[in-house]
Point group: C2
DNA sequence: GTCTATAGATGGATAGAC
DNA sequence: GTCTATCCATCTATAGAC
């Protein structure tokens, strides 16, 4: 079964290494998403993962590096989904998709992640928290790497050439705020306020609500 | 000049106490707003304030209590401004203000604080950060004390009785996201993305932009 | 690669002199 | 009320045995 020449002895090494590293990765993502970066210690992570204390430093170098790697991986996954959807929307519309389709490419991936039946629900919470609480390294990357957002800004500028560019940028800012509001804390608060009328479980309905609201905000 | 019978000796006590406490309060608010709750130590605060290390515990009991008191005070100030504006809007409109005036009462106070010429700019950043990074005590208060938000939800429900209530709650959720997006980090990021086209200094213009966007989102 | 023990640093809180 | 010195808990990171 093994691809190596030595199936005996310590042949479980690559699998065990991958397994331990993945256990740490998942436990760290989960705990940080739930309790925040600074509130989770390496001891918490290794205890949750059921591995020994030293494994974080062995596999990731440091606590900071671990969290940066989770952030990098999840950001890349989310941005690729968004970029692919934007590209498809562009293909469907002769290179000039309308506002609603651009916003769909921006909203749909994080909302799919938000679905309670989706394993990635916790990853989205992680990303939202890391964005505002992350280390200086994460913040610096976020601040400088605007290339991903630029594709959406350019698409919106092309869709609304009649608007002053700064108006388009501000509206993009507003819709990003709508997305970032979907944290556990704010959703719980909304649930209390509405006395249970708002059910976050219906992510398809939420996507339509967000699109209706944002598209209306853009159509002036 | 003193109201006490003993102007000599340690008569500076009340003023000195107030002065030191205020120095700590201001330094803590500023540092937390800039660097986050967990990233600021009591030593940082007392160094910034130019007072001795023990004064935080003497005047506030603990670091947690200090931050909770700042949060409580600023939240109260902001909510009172909002409640007053909502009340005035209600008076102007026979108890049933239109959506745009309700949203103005929600947006205008934090945007006034955001003005670079306003001392309260740092207080607003503090509040936005405390909301997402705060202690369990702060989060619990936020989660349970929805009475302030409820006034705005009720006003919106009255202004749009044609809509299903849950739709109104979701839209309120969206506009709150728009407000919370006005953090230093996100504003800086927007500034980079727009290559300087977005100037946050023009808070009056920003208020109009936010109102236009949100009102359009509500009018369907 | 795993695990224990511990180094090394930092931070919150407090005792006790003034 | 102020301030210094210090206690004690906690955390990250690592050395070294297995």
């Amino acid at each position: 079964m093994s691809l190596t020449d030595d199936p005996g002895a310590e042949s479980q090494t690559p699998e065990a290494e991958a397994a331990t590293k993945q256990l740490v990765f998942n436990a760290a993502e989960r705990l940080f998403a739930l309790h925040g970066f600074q509130n989770v210690s390496v001891r918490d992570i290794t205890a949750e993962a059921g591995v020994n204390l030293a494994s974080v430093n062995y596999h990731f170098g440091s606590k900071d590096s671990l969290l940066f790697e989770i952030f990098r991986r999840r950001t890349q996954e989310l941005n690729r989904e968004r970029a692919r959807m934007l590209h498809e929307a562009s293909d469907r519309n002769a290179g000039k998709p309308p506002v609603r389709e651009i916003l769909t490419a921006l909203f749909a991936p994080p909302l799919r992640w938000l679905d309670p039946s989706n394993d990635r629900r916790i990853s989205l919470q992680f990303l939202i928290r890391a964005r505002s609480e992350g280390t200086a390294e994460i913040r610096e990357v976020l601040g400088r790497d605007v290339s991903h957002l630029k594709r959406f800004a350019d698409a919106l500028l092309a869709a609304r050439p009649d608007l002053p560019p700064e108006e388009v940028y501000w509206r993009l800012h507003f819709v990003l705020g709508m997305i970032h509001q979907n944290r556990f804390m704010e959703l719980d608060r909304l649930h209390v306020l509405s006395e249970g009328a708002t059910r976050e479980g219906e992510v398809d309905a939420l996507l339509e609500r967000m699109l209706d609201f944002a598209e209306a905000g853009f159509s002036r």
